[in-house]
Each structure stands twice: as C-alpha cells, then as structure tokens.
C-alpha cells in the first residue's frame, strides 16, 4: 500500500493545507473532547435524507455531511468537491481516483487524535506496533544474524547451578526471567543506571542475566554475583542455609525497587505519589480495607500497596475459593474493638479486604508453612489453580456493586469495559518436608509451552503436570495490557 496519497489530494493539501482534515477528524471521527462529542452526536446526520448513516462522510471542501447511499456522491458530482472523509474510520475518498487513498501526513494526524480520544475517554490507547526509526532500520540491516522462533526453540531457557541450598534463589530467578513484561523491559535495555559498572546495582546484574539467558548458550549459569548482591542488600537472607523462596522473592523485589531509584532523576521518581519504577509498574497493586462500625455503619477505608497476596490454605480446595475467603467480610468480634471515628468510641466492627487496583503480575503465596510457638509444620493439601483466572469477583468495585444488589456476577455496570483476565506463567513448588526440602519451578516459555526448572536441569512439561502440582507460589500475568498515552 502506498501512503503518498494521490495527485488530487496533494493538490488540495498544497492549496489548503491539512487543517480541513484536522478539524473534521478531531470533531467527527475521533472526538478529542467532550465538546467534539456533542457536535458529533447532534450534527452527524445526512444533509439530504436526515439519517445517521449508513457510512456517513463529510465533504473536505465545504461543510456537508451525507451518507454513502448516494447522497455524498451526488454532492461531490454537482459541486465538483472530489474529496470526502469517512466519519467511521477517517479515511479520505477521492472521487476522481474512485477509491480511498492513504496519505502519511493525514495518517499521523489521525493517530495523534486517536491517542487524545483515548485520553479524553479514560480508556486504553490502541496498541501500536514498534516501527523502527532510521537508525534502528540501519542497525537491523547491518546485523544480518536472525533467529527463527519456532515451537521447538529453547532460547531463553538455561539451568542454574545449585551453590549449596540455593534452589530457593534459582526458582525465583527463573520466574523473574520468564515474566513477559520484565523480559521486554530488560531485553529492550531500558535500565539506565547512574552506578553503571560499579557492580553494586542488582538491576544491572539482572539485566546482564537476561543477556546470558538469551545468548543461545546452553550451559548452566552460576549466580554467585547475584547471591552476593542480595546478601549485601538484604542481610537477613545472608548465610548458607536454605531460605524461604517467598521471602527471597519479596526481598529481591525490594532490592530491585530500591536500586531502580538510583538510576533516575528525583523529578521522575514519583507520579501521583506512586513509585514509577519497573518493579512497581509490574508488581504493585492496591489492597483496599473497609472497616465497618457495627453501631453506626460508618466505613473507614484504607488502601495499601501490595506485591503479593498470602492466602490461607487450610480448608478451601482451590485458588478461587482461597481468594473468595480472603475478600469475605469478617466480623472482628468483641475482643478486637476498633476506635470508630464517627462514634468516637471503641466499637465492634467488620473488616473486608478487596483489590482496589490489580498489578500486571499477580503473585499468590499459599501459606503452606505454619510457624507457631507449639509446632512448625507444612500443609501439603492439594489446592487447584486455573491456567486462566478472572480477577473481577475480587475487585473492590465489583464487591460494591454486589452489595448494592446491582450486579449479576460479571456484569456490574461499571465493569463492562474492564478486563481483569490473567494467565498463569510460573509456579514455584516446594518438595519434601520443612527441614529437608527442595524448590523447583515450572515456567511458561511461550504460550502453551511449559518447562520444569530443577536447578541445572530443564525439562519439558505439560500444562496438566503444572496444574496437578503442589503449588507454593503462583504467578499470573495480565492477559490484555492497557496502554497509557503521554500526550497532554
């Protein structure tokens, strides 16, 4: 397809510029403001027959709307106004060429209007594929080596040596390396570090690790530098004994989050009071806690950030049941009175946790290890978990709608345009007992292609095997990503 327009459009542009198109497009194709929507709603009717369609067009030479059922063509012929814009898609029709024509300059205008429209409606910006700029296109031409990715490709998979009870680290590293958005971030070399080359930044170390995993080499890697960095920055994990993989995961995110901050300017650090580093962008969600006073029904709401959700496993047999119980209103009883700000007295109350915002990666920790003063034990109960998970029922907005009786399961009015579906991409398992245990991980390398990572050994696995395993940490990735735009 050529995007140089046609001679007629080029002549038109030379005489009148792109402004006529810009105005028609911003008001009647993709409305960039509320005012534009008002114009579109009230005036997009055929000047000849008064109907709103089919296929409304606007003349580019004068103010004239008409449908494609012959009326826009009549106008074009009688007035010799040969160019008109389709109001559904924004393409320009040239009556002299008798077809829609494509012009790069107009396409760019249309694209910027689509971004503004998305922003004005508060919806996700349409996905735009990467287009190489001149430098990148040159670089691609220079580097002739290409790799074909097929279902049998094993690139991105590498075993990790056990350095003496370091399987807790290996399984978390495998999970992080196979987190799709984190991979895209690091392979895109997005980490710009001030402390570069100092050997002190964990983010730089992970960045190097991604290069190692995707280098095509197959020998197992040794993570002594990474382990040392974590020992230095999270002292409670230092030592040669086996550690809890969950604790290691949280500590690693924490160190990564702190080190991300080293590389950026102070002004960029926070947006709306929220950290904007890659770790927080991917892993942070908001947990809402509503405490309702039983005497005055006053609600006090707090929202706290979270990186993962820890779930009790005694009782329920599935992840959904665990989440259902996690988000159920709980009566706090007479032993745990809370000061109500309305009554100004200590009252009995109910507490309910719901998810206010969801992270891109939802991590669940099944509390299989019970530590109490009497006994330390491991709960090996089977908890099933799905490959695809819809988080809508556990959202604060959904719960609110259910309480008001307005919703039948997934059709809460405000939830119509929400998409809270997640796909499983990694599972960490703990085998054996509390004192003598071993960690392994299942990771998804490509869609539908699973591998078991047992230190230096990587073997192909089936989804069934993954779902039947005794999960300890479960990692889900958002199925559809929403894009934000940065136009003002």
């Amino acid at each position: 397809m050529n995007d140089n327009g046609c001679i007629h459009l080029n002549n038109f542009k030379a005489a009148k510029g792109t402004n006529p198109y810009k105005i028609v497009h911003a008001f009647f194709v993709t409305c960039t403001s509320f005012e534009a929507r008002r114009y579109k709603a009230t005036s997009c009717l055929c000047f000849t027959c008064g109907k709103p369609g089919p296929r409304m067009h606007s003349c580019l030479h004068c103010i004239f709307f008409a449908c494609y059922d012959g009326h826009i063509q009549d106008h074009s012929k009688s007035k010799k106004h040969f160019l008109y814009v389709d109001l559904s898609y924004g393409n320009v029709f040239c009556a002299q060429c008798q077809d829609y024509i494509y012009d790069r300059e107009l396409t760019e205008i249309a694209m910027s209007h689509r971004m503004k429209e998305a922003k004005s409606l508060g919806i996700s910006v349409p996905f735009m594929p990467w287009l190489p700029n001149n430098n990148e296109a040159m670089a691609l031409r220079r580097l002739r080596k290409r790799r074909l990715i097929s279902p049998h490709t094993t690139i991105g998979l590498r075993g990790l040596q056990n350095l003496g009870s370091t399987c807790f680290m290996n399984c978390i590293v495998q999970t992080l390396i196979h987190t799709p958005l984190l991979r895209d971030y690091f392979l895109g070399e997005k980490h710009k570090c001030k402390a570069q080359g100092s050997g002190k930044c964990l983010v730089c170390e992970v960045s190097k690790l991604f290069q190692e995993f995707y280098s095509g080499a197959k020998t197992p890697l040794t993570l002594h530098r990474l382990l040392h960095l974590i020992w230095t920055h999270a002292r409670h994990l230092a030592g040669y004994e086996q550690q809890d993989a969950h604790e290691f995961f949280i500590a690693t995110l924490d160190v990564l989050h702190r080190h991300c901050m080293n590389g950026v300017e102070d002004t960029e650090k926070k947006e709306n009071g929220r950290c904007n580093c890659i770790i927080d962008q991917i892993f942070t969600g908001g947990l809402q806690s509503d405490v309702v006073c039983t005497s005055c029904s006053g609600v006090s709401t707090t929202i706290d950030p979270f990186w993962d959700i820890s779930l009790d496993v005694a009782g329920p047999g599935s992840l959904q049941a665990c989440l259902e119980r996690f988000t159920r209103a709980e009566h706090l009883g007479s032993g745990a009175k809370i000061k109500c700000s309305k009554c100004r007295a200590y009252r009995e109350s109910t507490k309910q946790l719901t998810l206010e915002t969801l992270p891109i990666v939802a991590s669940f920790h099944l509390k299989r290890f019970e530590h109490s003063s009497q006994i330390d034990r491991k709960i090996s109960a089977f908890v099933s978990f799905p490959a695809e998970l819809d988080m809508t029922p556990f959202m604060s907005s959904h719960r609110r709608a259910v309480d008001m009786g307005a919703a039948d399961n997934n059709n809460a009015p405000e939830g119509i345009f929400e998409d809270n579906r997640y796909s499983l991409f990694a599972v960490v398992n703990h085998l054996g007992s509390l004192d003598a245990g071993h960690y392994t991980a299942y990771v998804r390398q490509m869609k539908g292609s699973w591998f078991k990572c047992d230190d230096h050994m990587i073997t192909r696995a089936s989804l069934r095997e993954v779902l039947d395993s005794e999960g300890y940490l479960l990692f889900y990735h958002k199925t559809v990503l929403e894009y934000e735009c940065d136009v003002s």
């Binding site: 929507r37 709603a41 009230t42 409606l121 919806i123 349409p126 119509i416 345009f417």
Partner: protein, 93 residues
Amino acid sequence: MTVNNTIAHQRLILSGDRERFKELLRRRLIECGWRDQVRMLCRDVVKENESNNVTFETLVTKVTPKARAIVPDSVKKELLQKIKTHLLTQKDQ
C-alpha cells in the same frame, strides 16, 4: 431508525460509550482471530483479481458477507448483553 433509536444513538456518542463499546468489540475480534481471518479473506480477493486494480468497494462487497458470517456467536452475545445492560441502567438514571 426511529426517533427513540436516534436519541439512544446520540446519547451513546455523547457519553463516549459508543467508542468504548467499539474498542471492546475491536479487542474481542482480534483476540478470537477474526481479524486475521478477514485479513486472509482480503488477501484471497486481491490474489483472485491480480490483473486489475482492486478497489475498496470490491473488497467490501466480496468480503463482507463472509466476514459477518464468521463473527463468533460468543462475541455477538457478549456485546449484545453488555449494550442491553448498559442502556437499561442508563435509563434508570
């Protein structure tokens, strides 16, 4: 289109919900592979008419009936139900 329909249509545009529904539909059609199937149908038409210049009109007339037929029922049902629910709740307000 009746007067009532026109008003409903105008309200959907005004609130921006028409665009939101369009975006939802676009997303569903991409997810279920419909867009790729339609792209293949278009390729076929272009290949069949390789000798002459294929216009947008020929593509639309040849592809539309097939493309409409392969929209999955689940997508139609979801959109229909959501638009219905939406219009009913709007009416109450």
